[in-house]
Symmetry: D2
Subunit: 96 residues, 4 copies
């Protein structure tokens, strides 16, 4: 699996932006991808880069529809092809 | 325009990775997108998120073809719809 | 509290770098800061930027001592002064 | 040298934040560190992590003094000890 961490921040919509983050998170849930919410981001697990980019596009569209005029998006992707890593296997590897 | 900063790093391919960065940069050049090389990343200017994601996919494929077994990709996107920002206008706005 | 997400990646030490991540995580634990391990990073909660930077320096030193010759460090900080956010309050705000 | 890329974004201060970015950039200039402004960040060159963290703290203080109530800071650091990289040598390595 490809593991990706996604952060989306609307500018100019006040100091608290949780209403916008919620609508983006809704799109991640609808995608059916396995995900984990962290205090700074949402981490997803996907078979392809296209699956990740597709959900990012939908999440951003939802923020724009809600009224955001500027969105800063951070995507960090960890793609390894030597073995099949998952979100859980990555955490286990450093906890042990 | 949407401005995006792209960084791609292969793991396990030695301390110097410029051979890999060059092959990724080649794909960015081939895309025809306006770009700027910085010491830490390549910044591109695009009309759509798809244009950005398309070049990221091609650049990563090129790194994998060159032998990378694990690639860490960072994409930071600044998308504003209230006015038409460019790479140059963003720099001018803070330099003046 | 200031919430910070920290990622540290050694280059040139093979495709699997969990031995290095573990030694960095050890320093975060020793700091006494409240932390959460995610599949892509470690998130910490601190009173000051100095507390965050201090643990990053110790974690990087530990990676260099273990033999890393090049380390890429990502730090994303969310500092709000209008109210006292914590790692848990940030997650609750978007889950509800 | 250690190369670091710094981005600072105030939330809740409108869609255009160049006034805040300018005041942060002023602190980077005052630090005496060699720097390059890019469309998405400022890249600096420093001898130690402390030099980088010191200028980040001053830049954030300046943003808070200007009225920011929430600041998101991104720092990406490339620290290699096998040879003496600079901002210029990093660009030359991939352009050639």
């Amino acid at each position: 699996m490809i593991i990706a961490e996604i952060t989306m921040t609307p500018l100019g919509k006040g100091v608290s932006v949780s209403r916008y983050v919620k609508t983006a998170l809704e799109k991640i849930k609808e995608s059916g991808l396995n995900y984990k919410l962290t205090p700074m981001s949402t981490v997803v697990e996907a078979r392809t880069l296209d699956d990740i980019f597709s959900v990012v596009k939908k999440a951003e569209e939802a923020m724009l529809e809600l009224g955001a005029e500027r969105v800063v998006i951070d995507i960090k992707i960890d793609h390894r092809i030597d073995k099949d890593a998952t979100m859980d296997s990555k955490i286990r590897a450093v906890e042990m």
